[in-house]
Symmetry: C2
Subunit: 212 residues, 2 copies
DNA sequence: ACAAAAGTGTTGCTGTTACACCCATGG
DNA sequence: CCATGGGTGTAACAGCAACACTTTTGT
């Protein structure tokens, strides 16, 4: 390959959502060689008339049919051999969506702890983005919790979600106290029936506590 | 300009150091139009046989004559009109060096709070990188303090540095207590004479407290 | 002796952790 | 009435903030 100052850039997007208290990622099934049958982060090759963010947004729309206004910038991956055929630089992003609204026959949701065989270096890219996403969730940076939970939920569900992310059990009383006292969540007034005592429903406070 | 999937990428590096308790950045004087006389972040156009990190490292070596092993990945800047002549994507990095060791007639150190007129969007890029650098300093991510202060220093100097970064006064006793009790710094055993009582010298503990 | 900067402890506050029992519903 | 999950308070602890006087040197 001749030396050149022109580069091919692909913008790869980690489309994530929460389902049943677990973080999920939306991956694309690769239909052709190489890596046929493996899974891919959805993405596009960047053209010279769009910004990285525009390209990422296009990918989200193509994958989910929803426009997305919230993108987290991830890292770049520029190893020379990440695609053996051609030198392609990857710029990664993470976006948040709502799993139940999204349908795409070419794609499938995976639990972030049970990623399938992924093509190229996409598993490394996915894991790097997921780690950053977890950090932002834990600190509620940019009110990201509101984006993940736009609707109501029970505190038990939310606690399960945090226990999965932190990978350790949390004390129910302390967990509730912190969120309620800090006005991070507010009661909707509704309840939902479960196997035991009905559970109060909460929502994230749009203008509530967050970092930066 | 014809639509294309090939892109020009420049890798821009914020070369930073501490001097007299203040964060400084090393900028290049632009010698030709456009923006003649303005100042630039040093950088290179990426060729398709190098990674982004290699290109950033080359820039550091060319600017400072020192190899650099420590680079912080910054954001990308891909607005279509950031260079009015051509669409160039900027990938930014931050590196840390020691000001007193570096000489380069085409470049000059500036206090981060007194940046000169900068070409293109380089001021925006510099400020974004400086903000991230400050955050990493405050949390001592990757033992960055050891990289900024590879040699001995007095706690008063260090306190001044933090007061500049945080832009607020700190209590001397609390500041010292925290650093000493946590073993973040250790006494060298030496002292240095000042206008008043001689001051103990400290060094950062290489294996000391840090985040991630 | 005095000026200049370094060095040093204690107290209160705030947020976090640990911990166990009662409540509301469905079957 | 029992099984299931939801809801609640208090006490110890750690980290952080506020605060003033003494020590060591040079002149």
């Amino acid at each position: 390959m001749a030396k050149s100052y022109y580069n091919v850039i692909e913008v790869l997007v980690n489309i994530c959502a929460v389902d049943q208290g677990k973080l999920k990622i939306f991956l694309k099934h690769k239909q052709n060689e190489p890596y046929k049958g493996y899974w891919l982060l959805p993405g596009n090759i960047l053209s010279n008339d769009q910004t990285l963010e525009e390209s990422a947004d296009n990918t989200v729309v193509m994958s989910t049919n929803f426009p997305n206004v919230f993108l987290i910038e991830g890292k770049n991956f520029s190893n020379l051999d990440r695609d053996p055929l051609e030198r392609i630089i990857a710029c990664s992003f993470t976006s948040i969506t709502v799993k139940s609204l999204v349908h795409n026959p070419e794609m499938q949701w995976f639990d972030i702890d049970e990623l399938p065989k992924m093509a190229y270096d996409h598993e490394i890219i996915a894991k790097a983005n997921i780690e950053e996403l977890k950090k932002q969730i834990i600190s509620n940076k940019n009110n990201i919790l509101y984006k993940i939970f736009p609707n109501d939920f029970t505190l038990s569900e939310l606690q399960q979600f945090f226990e999965n992310i932190l990978n350790r059990p949390l004390d129910r009383r302390n967990f509730r106290k912190k969120l309620i006292d800090s006005k991070t969540v507010i009661e909707t007034g509704d309840k939902i029936n479960t196997a035991g005592r009905p559970s109060k429903l909460y929502m994230f406070n749009k203008g509530g506590k967050q970092n930066e």
